[in-house]
């Protein structure tokens, strides 16, 4: 009880501190929608990450010994809420900070930690994640990118897909098949690959919304030191599973991100003249309810977790926000159509196209990071203990 009280007091101060620092340091033009596209975007975003590093905010959840502040889930969430509140740009090195760093801390050697952790923290190396393959989507363990050992090197051949940030990442955290004879979960290794190694080619995928945030990455006899393996050779599945839980878990997005969307829906509702209509208010209210539920679910999860480690319940998190987000954008699409029938205002029409791009993206969230069908299986089997399906 006293620990909780302490935390409660502490977090209020922490929120003020973060809010103040962000206000003082975030360049105003970085908060504008679409500010960070185009070639100089990368440069600006790296500079912003460096600013966060200098302020001590690069990775507050990392232990102090690795340059973090050793903060727990509650503090991380507050940071995230304030970061979203002010409209700061998405973290450039999310894979390095959230996935690779913690994985190195848990499974890496001292030499590996020294080689990579600090560079991640300073955003000197931007990372991408190479798990998915064309024939290994929901069934990740069926991945086939082959890493053959020759002396102290892997010779890697194969293909990754849906790699976010591959066009600018310096390094990839990849899962590769090192033992094709072993059962499929047991022949996989976690390997860190320098994206500048000869034989790697990156091809952006044009998405349904016209954007190209994801890529295919091809490996043609790519040589990687075996020393870049995290954990034991052939033990990469265990290394990766911890990483995947991190991906689904609490702390990477807060309800605050959705409040501006609710405000947009609200103003569209009013603009279409439906501000007093029962059906329109119920629809708007449904989204308010969902965002609030997400808020309280996250708050509850944090209150029940002392150390920021989450179990299979994390699946609720991913399932919930992805469905909420898709529904929210769906309503907006309808309202924007209605408004575009009524209005000549070009601001509306500009907003329409941007909303639409986000709408299509939001529908993809039901698939990535483990499809929602997979999440429901996890909930049913690992949270509720229902028997496994026959395979």
């Amino acid at each position: 009880m006293s620990a909780l009280t302490e935390t409660t007091l502490d977090v209020a101060t922490w929120r003020d501190e973060v809010r103040g620092w962000l206000k003082a340091h975030l360049p105003a033009d970085l908060t504008e929608p679409g500010a960070l596209t185009g070639p100089e975007a990368l440069h600006r975003r790296r500079a912003w990450e460096r600013e966060l590093y200098d302020g001590g905010y690069a990775a507050i959840h990392w232990p102090k010994e690795y340059g973090g502040r050793g903060m727990g889930a509650a503090h991380r969430m507050i940071f995230q809420e304030e970061y979203e509140r002010i409209g700061a740009p998405p973290r450039l090195n999310i894979q390095g900070l959230m996935l690779v760093g913690p994985t190195l801390m848990e499974h890496g050697t001292d030499a590996q930690r020294q080689r990579w952790l600090d560079a991640i923290l300073r955003c000197e190396q931007v990372w991408c994640q190479g798990f998915s393959e064309p024939d290994a989507g929901s069934d990740l363990a069926s991945l086939r990118t082959a890493a053959r050992i020759e002396g102290d090197r892997y010779i890697i051949n194969g293909q990754k897909i849906w790699t976010s940030g591959a066009t600018y990442a310096d390094w990839m955290f990849a899962l590769v098949r090192t033992n094709p004879e072993a059962p499929k979960h047991r022949g996989i290794s976690a390997v860190l690959i320098d994206m500048r190694t000869p034989g790697i080619s990156v091809r952006p995928i044009r998405q349904i919304n016209g954007r190209g945030t994801f890529s295919e990455v091809f490996f043609d006899n790519v040589e990687v030191p075996v020393a870049n393996t995290i954990g034991a050779v052939d033990d990469g599945w265990n290394v990766a599973m911890g990483a995947l839980l991190l991906e689904r878990g609490i702390g990477r997005r807060s309800y605050v991100k959705y409040v501006p969307l609710l405000r947009t829906l609200s103003s569209l509702t009013t603009s279409t003249g439906a501000g007093r209509d029962g059906a329109a208010l119920e629809e708007l209210g449904t989204h308010v309810m969902q965002v609030s539920k997400y808020r309280h679910h996250v708050g509850r999860t944090l209150a029940e977790s002392s150390n920021g480690a989450f179990g299979p319940e994390a699946s609720l998190n991913k399932l919930f926000w992805s469905e909420m987000e898709a529904a929210l954008y769906e309503s907006g699409m309808k309202l924007l159509n209605d408004l575009s029938a009524l209005s000549d205002d070009s601001a509306v029409l500009d907003g329409y196209g941007r909303w639409e791009a986000e709408y299509w993206h939001a529908r993809a969230t039901r698939i990535f990071a483990g499809s929602n069908q997979i999440q429901k299986n996890i909930i049913a089997e690992r949270v509720l203990g229902l028997p496994k399906e026959k395979r």
Binding site: V259, L281, L384
Partner: protein, 350 residues
């Protein structure tokens, strides 16, 4: 942050105590008995009151436990979970604290001791819908909402006519009061109405979440044991996903009630919105959980013999009472519509 979300020591302790009590004293036989004879189990009522539950939110000076709403909310879930057919929630969560806060010295002196000790039973029309109240016919005390004011009446001051209840063990009555009865002497102080409405709503939400929790638990158990096609039906993906959806609806609803209790207790700017979120979520969850429960139970769930329907019907009653889903969603929509950048009525502090 926003309170302890039910995870602090007092809260867990109260809920655990009540759960153990119900496990021991309110098994299926006793739940069933309330359904069969339809009369109030006064013995059970007395036992729960003796645990201090009815006076939990009253201060220690007047003989209560002096705990906060957010400490009680998990315990209220346990009542819903238990299936006990008692008017506990109105008495403990609404009437007693409202009298202590908004009653005159006379009202406090005349009503509180009997309600806290459990000697007297309270009913409340607040947010229930119309002039109806649960267990009004059995109540000694009535908290009546009329023209946006609250009045506190004793048994001689109101009469009741039983009306249909979707839950045979939660009896409903319509109350009638001679207009001459209502006066300054019966009226509670200003502010009582909004406060009572918020309390009624979060408490009903927690109760309903407890009902859903029990239905879901029965459903999971059934899915693990019932076999069809040579395997437990819970191994079928269609059944898994039905149940997973129900679990998501319920687990994402529970902390909304916990937060609403906290916001009420702390007088936060978003207390009204939080109560609406809690009730709309709880109503949603009860419907989704109830649907999947009936579907997964198959034929057996449609028998009177199987206990599922006790919770199904209580869920149906609570789903529509205390403001339907639609009512609360509209309130939220209107609050969002009226929200100015920086207004705290929906998302404070942003």
């Amino acid at each position: 942050m926003t309170g302890s979300y039910g995870a602090d020591e007092t809260s867990v302790e109260l809920a655990t105590g009540l759960r153990e009590f119900f496990n021991e004293h309110c098994g299926l036989d006793r739940v069933r008995a309330a359904w069969s004879d339809g009369s109030l189990d006064l013995a059970l009522w007395g036992e729960v009151a003796a645990l201090g539950f009815t006076g939990a939110l009253a201060s220690e000076e007047v003989g209560g436990l002096g705990v906060q709403p957010e400490d009680l909310v998990l315990a209220i879930e346990e009542i819903g979970y238990s299936g006990a057919s008692l008017p506990l929630v109105d008495t403990a969560a609404v009437v007693v604290p409202i009298i202590e806060r908004y009653g005159s010295a006379e009202q406090r002196a005349s009503f509180l001791p009997g309600l806290i000790s459990g000697e007297r039973i309270a009913a409340s029309t607040v947010m229930f819908g119309g002039d109806r109240a649960m267990f009004a016919a059995e109540a000694d005390v009535l908290l009546l909402e009329r023209d946006d004011c609250l009045h506190l009446l004793d048994r001689r001051q109101f009469s009741t006519v039983e009306v249909h209840s979707p839950d045979p063990a939660s009896r409903l009555a319509r109350v009638s009061v001679e207009s001459s009865v209502l006066s300054d002497a019966t009226r509670l102080a200003a502010g009582a109405t909004d406060d009572a409405r918020g309390r009624a709503v979060w408490a009903a939400s927690a109760l309903l979440n407890g009902v859903s929790r029990r239905m879901l638990e029965m459903t999971v158990d059934h899915a693990k044991t019932r076999e069809q096609f040579g395997r437990a039906i819970g191994s079928f993906q269609a059944v898994k996903h039905l149940i997973a959806d129900a679990w998501v609806a319920m687990e994402s609803s529970r902390p909304c009630a916990w937060y609403a209790a906290h916001a009420c207790s702390q007088g936060l700017a978003d207390a009204a919105a939080a109560a609406s979120v809690a009730k709309a979520s709880a109503s949603d969850a009860a419907r989704v959980v109830g649907d999947s429960a009936l579907q997964v139970h198959g034929g057996i769930g449609f028998t009177w013999e199987h206990p599922l329907h006790f919770w199904m019907k209580r869920g149906k009653l609570l789903e529509h009472a205390y403001g339907s889903r639609g009512f609360h969603l509209r309130s939220l929509g209107a609050a969002m519509r009226d929200d100015q950048q920086g207004s705290d009525a929906v998302f404070p502090g942003l």
